[in-house]
């Protein structure tokens, strides 16, 4: 994809994007609630109880002095029994408060972790169902960050912001009611100050949010630069390019410094602003209330004013706390948006109904069997009359006038016609971008043809269920791609229920047995990071063994081109040849021997098949093939 990854993410977020983020957040809340309704109701109940218990506890100080200490001092009494009684009572409230706090936090842990696990699992399952096109058109780093960064922003928000918001809502409501009861007029004044507070914090939070976005995109750019230069550090050295590299880096580093220090500055000043505005509100109420009480306006007594001031303090506190969470929420909204975008991707469509079944042939008739027979048949249930046909799986492939482009603007293949009889070997040759890989992408329906037909054993592949079609086609890609796990597990990937003997047999066929036995733990050697501890040749041998154990009737091979030394190359070649024996094979060929041994060679040029025939025929033609083969340009 051209251009830096974060291009387009400007400092100003569009209103549209904000709306989408808000919607994603709403959807997340709904998902959480529909999954954990009982948990959340209990959380609310426990929060209410803990708020009440805490209020009762706070009031105790006043009661202690007014109802116990002052009278005792006055009476010169030394009877502490009533006080002890009261302390015991309060202790009971405290214990309830502690238990409730613990309970709601504990419940939230379950809700939080459970929700995150569900999202991760959903994302992964959904991701596996997406078409290849999705992976070809999205940066892999972006997909990965859904699982790490974005989930992480949700974790912080759910565990902290959610209970705090519930808590704050309850506290604010309770306090508001009490304030109105004490003095409607002063309540209005308090609310006016609160509105100012919310306005100011909202402003600061939105500025800070903007710089956070800028910071994220600066980080993205700087990381991109670091990654590129670190990977190419040796090239930098060889070209004495250090100074230029430092200059480029400094420019990006400086810009990250600016956005980072601004974003953090605005986030940091939210707290002080809120606190001090709260104090101003307190003073205003004291002055206004004092004036009212002194003048007797609005039936406000001094005692009521004192209580009101306490409430004023506990009204502003939760608002200030919630506003500190705003950045978390903004970040979580962006994360939720990306997560739901992944979950909303259209999965791979499959309208096929022809399936692949085990079969036995008796007296020229195919019957379906449960057990593995080594013979396979296509089970074709006709949609018109529901009659069932069986057709033997042989590996006969026909392409009829296939036209294709990855995007509507750019056609890649033009009028491709070809047929391969069972067991035949078809080689594709041609320059980069000629469309070789595209043809193989179409045969196993990684991409679907728009114009033309592809038939497998006479059946239009669009009618075959994708999993069944792919099971019948083995594939060995240029990039091998192994999985974390043992060598045996990697081979068994082709047939999950394969016995150890089958694994070894496949390895022997692929010529891989020799090197595997030399590994420290043989077949139980654990491979990490795409088989990083193996050489390129060894990885290819494992990929061949993996295809061999699946024993498919047809094969797609993309010959690897990485520089491996001649001896290893010969071993790989032998393995490939044994794998191809007796199977219909489509091979994107690079090696002379592979090409020469093919039954048909298709020469592709810019999406057209320009020549076809076997080696001898094509050499005699002295066309493009001859030119490629001899390295000589024919003056026609």
């Amino acid at each position: 994809m051209p251009g830096p990854r974060n291009a387009g993410r400007g400092v100003k977020r569009s209103a549209e994007e904000k709306k989408r983020a808000k919607e994603a957040l709403g959807r997340l809340y709904k998902d959480i609630f529909s999954r954990y309704p009982i948990h959340l109701i209990l959380v609310v109940v426990f929060i209410v109880l803990s708020v009440l218990a805490n209020v009762r506890g706070t009031l105790f100080t006043q009661t202690l002095i007014d109802s116990y200490i002052v009278p005792m001092v006055k009476d010169k009494s030394h009877d502490f029994a009533p006080l002890l009684q009261a302390i015991r009572g309060v202790a009971a409230f405290y214990i309830i408060g502690i238990i409730c706090t613990y309970m709601y936090n504990l419940l939230m842990v379950y809700v939080n972790q459970g929700m995150l696990r569900t999202l991760r699992d959903q994302m992964f399952s959904h991701m596996e169902s997406l078409p290849i096109r999705y992976f070809d058109t999205h940066a892999h780093g972006d997909i990965m960050s859904c699982y790490s960064n974005d989930i992480d922003t949700l974790r912080q928000m759910i565990s902290q912001a959610v209970p705090q918001i519930i808590n704050a809502t309850i506290t604010i409501t309770a306090v508001l009611i009490s304030m109105i009861y004490l003095s409607p007029l002063l309540t209005v004044l308090t609310l006016a100050m609160t509105a100012l507070m919310i306005f100011v914090t909202g402003k600061a939070a939105s500025i800070s949010g903007r710089f956070y976005t800028k910071q994220q995109s600066d980080i993205g750019e700087l990381n991109g630069n670091i990654e590129e230069i670190m990977n190419g550090e040796k090239v930098v050295k060889v070209f004495n390019h250090e100074k230029q590299a430092i200059e480029d880096f400094d420019r990006l580093n400086e810009s990250l410094y600016t956005s980072s220090s601004k974003a953090n500055s605005y986030a940091n000043i939210l707290g002080p602003i809120n606190n001090q505005l709260g104090n101003v509100s307190y003073v205003l109420i004291a002055v206004a209330g004092g004036a009212m009480a002194v003048s007797g306006f609005g039936s406000l007594t001094l005692g009521k004013l004192a209580s009101f001031l306490t409430f004023n303090k506990s009204f502003n506190m939760p608002i200030s706390q919630v506003s500190q969470q705003l950045n978390f929420i903004v970040m979580a909204a962006a994360g939720a948006q990306r997560i739901y975008a992944l979950l909303d991707e259209e999965p791979e469509q499959d309208n096929g109904y022809v399936t692949l079944v085990n079969a036995r042939e008796e007296n020229g008739r195919l019957t379906e069997t449960k057990e593995r027979t080594g013979e396979w048949a296509w089970k074709h249930e006709h949609q018109a009359d529901h009659s069932i046909d069986y057709k033997k799986l042989e590996g006969d492939v026909v392409m009829e006038d296939v036209n294709f482009g990855y995007t509507p603007e750019k056609q890649v293949l033009y009028d491709i016609k070809l047929y391969a009889r069972p067991g035949q070997k078809v080689a594709f040759v041609g320059a980069t971008g000629a469309g070789k890989t595209t043809i193989t992408n179409l045969i196993n329906r990684f991409y679907d043809v728009e114009v033309g037909k592809i038939r497998f054993d006479g059946i239009n592949i669009n009618k075959i269920k994708k999993p069944d079609l792919r099971r019948s086609l083995g594939i060995v890609l240029q990039d091998t791609h192994l999985f974390t796990g043992t060598v045996a597990e990697n081979i068994r990937y082709g047939k999950l229920d394969a016995s150890d003997e089958e694994v070894i047999a496949a390895a022997k066929l692929a010529n891989a047995d020799g090197f595997i036995r030399h590994l420290k733990n043989g077949y139980d050697t654990v491979l990490k990071g795409d088989g990083a501890n193996l050489s390129a040749g060894q990885r290819q041998l494992l990929a061949i063994a993996r295809a061999a154990i699946a024993d498919p009737p047809a094969l797609i091979l993309d010959e690897a081109t990485s520089s491996i030394d001649t001896r290893t190359e010969r071993i790989v070649q032998e393995g490939m040849d044994r794998l191809m024996a007796g199977r219909t094979t489509f091979v994107i060929a690079h090696r002379l021997s592979t090409i020469r041994n093919s039954d048909v060679i298709m020469v592709l040029d810019q999406g057209h098949i320009i020549e076809r025939g076997n080696h001898d025929e094509l050499m005699a033609k002295k066309g493009k093939y001859y030119q490629l083969y001899t390295g000589r340009i024919v003056n026609a």
Binding site: M1, P2, T61, I69, M72, V73, I87, Y94, G97, I98, Y102, F124, S125, E128, I132, H140, Y147, S148, N223, I226, E227, E228, M230, E233, V236, K237, V238, F239, N240, E242, F249, S261, N264, N268, I269, P272, I273, N279, A286, V287, G290, L309, T432, N444, F446, P467, I475, H481, Y493, G494, D530, T561, S563, T566, R567, T568, R570, R591, S593, G631
Partner: protein, 580 residues
């Protein structure tokens, strides 16, 4: 630590101002309660409007100072920590530019990237926390404690006990929690690995219809994270109730003992109220302090990893009084031994090879025969372990490094291009090259033919790693880039492996005809790439197995003959290779 302190450079003022501003904010916070009490006790309760106004005025003043201090602390803290991060990144990046290949090999690329990004961010966050809370929390703790002792030492002791209790709880819990967290992070790594594997290998997964199998594997990993995270979070939720219990217990103890003291006449009611307000602030400060401690503890690992990068000594450095002039392109290996690690087995043993200026040398040999190592000694990408390498008759260790590398141009096996246009990429070889010079180099490398077919020609943008051009095109661009240096020695390390045979031979012909004076060393797997060289060196297991012309080697060298026969027997390459 020393490295961190050094990198505060330029941000000392804000670094010092931050805690001071935070202390001012704390001071204002400490004054406020007594002003509020004043408003209530002397103003509201007595109905004294004058007192309300006076105290209200004081409060506004205090609030204003607090606001200014708070904002200053926030802004300075953000600046100081972002500045430290900037400096750390800059210092590391500069240091890495001084590294030799040996240093780069020691750190893996991915680990260098993490150190420059994640680790620096960790340090930035803890530094901000340290500046803003590191002073503030202990200060308010100390102030509140001192004030409590001033009011009543007997009562203040209750806080001391509570503090001791909480400290013990934290000391026991923190290591457990941090151990559990590191286990969670390991599980995270395992999950990320699984996702990455699936994203990269999605074609394999789909081709083998293994979606359900992969989902099952992933569920296991996801469940692992769930279980471990649940465990640590459950433990963390215990901290809050424990703290609340301590606070409440302290309040009750204060009330009980306070009542007794008041009745006994040795304590005032107001003093009890004052003591109770300190309660929260003492315990909150302790929690805050614990949080800072945890963050710093966790970032220590990052500090360590950053320091490793900064403390690494470049293995190859410029000599004193360097030779600035390179006479010609002759190369002499005099009994050279080399090993990558000290005291390890030699990967090159007793190499004695003399190359005349302007000669074309082919190098051939199997994987692990140390062909690349051999040529990397010429431009001092590594230094020899024994013997010496001379260019133009002078030991390479005596040349100015930049001069040497300008005259010895290497096309590495790793054929990397960088984000930017083709012009920009090729000008790595010579920043001042004119458009015509760039085009001439491209023509020499047979790259002009495909560049001119691009809609944007030489202004075509190359994406990161050069993935939007084919392997063969990338190699030709890399050769053009190296040619632009107009070097005395040109080294191609397996640089035409993805170029078709015909183009490969045209490139070599161009070298012969256009730059006859340049010494050329060509490493290759294909015999055809070296067969027309003046001399061919056959390498085997770190030793020279034979030197001679194509014909001489065919007759006299078993390894060479074997490679030749295997390639002409039909397992050679056919067309232009692609690597994407």
């Amino acid at each position: 630590m020393r490295n961190i302190v050094k990198n505060i450079k330029g941000f000392w003022a804000v670094s010092i101002a931050t805690p001071i501003a935070m202390l001012a904010e704390v001071a204002m916070e400490m004054i406020l309660p007594s002003l509020m009490a004043g408003i209530i006790d002397d103003g509201v309760n007595k109905g004294n409007m004058h007192v309300i106004l006076v105290f209200g005025g004081y409060m506004l003043l205090v609030a204003l100072i607090g606001l200014v201090a708070g904002i200053a602390g926030g802004v300075f803290g953000a600046k100081a920590s972002a500045g430290l991060a900037k400096n750390l990144r800059g210092s590391m990046f500069r240091r890495i530019q001084e590294y030799s290949f040996e240093n780069i090999d020691r750190f893996e690329t991915s680990s260098l990237i993490t150190r420059l990004t994640t680790d620096v961010t960790n340090v930035q966050n803890s530094y901000m926390m340290l500046l803003r809370m590191g002073m503030r929390a202990p200060a308010s703790l100390v102030v509140a404690l001192v004030m409590s002792f001033a009011v009543s030492p007997k009562m203040a002791m209750i806080y001391v006990y509570a503090l001791i209790f909480l400290t013990i709880v934290l000391i026991i819990m923190l290591p457990v929690v941090s151990r559990m967290f590191s286990r969670v992070f390991k599980k995270y790594d395992a999950m990320n690995e699984s996702v990455q594997e699936n994203v990269n290998a999605i074609r394999v997964v789909k081709a083998y219809v293994r979606e359900d199998h992969e989902i099952k594997k992933f569920r296991g990993k996801s469940q692992d994270i769930y279980k471990n995270f649940l465990k640590v979070e459950k433990l963390m939720t215990l901290i809050m109730p424990v703290m609340m219990a301590t606070v409440y217990f302290s309040i009750l103890m204060l009330s009980w003992r306070g009542a007794k003291l008041i009745v006994g006449g040795s304590l005032q009611t107001g003093q009890l109220v004052q003591l109770l307000t300190y309660c929260m602030s003492i315990l909150m400060s302790l929690m805050m302090f614990a949080m800072v401690a945890v963050m710093i503890l966790m970032s220590m690992a990052s500090v360590q990893r950053i320091s490793e990068v900064l403390d690494e000594k470049p293995a190859v450095s410029n000599p004193e009084d360097p030779v600035m002039e390179i006479k010609d392109g002759s190369i002499d290996f005099d009994h050279v031994n080399f090993s990558y690690l000290k005291n390890d087995n030699y990967v090159l043993s007793d190499i004695d090879l003399h190359i005349k200026s302007g000669e074309t040398i082919g190098v051939i040999g199997g994987t692990g025969s140390s062909k690349s190592t051999l040529v990397s000694l010429i431009s001092r990408l590594y230094d020899v372990s024994g013997g010496d390498v001379k260019v133009g008759g002078v030991d390479v260790r005596r040349y100015d490094l930049k001069k040497l590398r300008d005259e010895v141009s290497v096309v590495l096996q790793q054929n990397l291009l960088f984000t930017g246009t083709i012009y920009e990429n090729l000008r790595w070889g010579d920043p001042d090259a004119s458009d015509e010079e760039v085009k001439r180099a491209a023509k020499l490398a047979c790259a002009d033919e495909f560049i001119e077919k691009f809609p944007d020609g030489y202004d075509t943008r190359i994406t990161q790693g050069g993935t939007n051009v084919s392997g063969g095109q990338r190699q030709r661009l890399c050769i053009a880039r190296a040619l632009l240096k107009k070097p005395k020695i040109l080294i191609l390390d397996d640089s035409t492996s993805a170029v078709d045979t015909a183009t490969d031979s045209r490139i070599r012909r161009a070298f012969r005809e256009e730059i006859p004076g340049t010494t050329k060393i060509i490493i290759a797997q294909r015999i055809s790439s070296v067969s027309d060289a003046d001399r061919i060196v056959v390498m085997n297991e770190g030793r020279i197995d034979g030197v001679g012309t194509h014909q001489e080697l065919l007759e006299g060298n078993a390894i060479y003959r074997d490679v030749y026969e295997s390639q002409s027997a039909g397992s050679g390459d056919f067309d232009e290779k692609e690597e994407d």
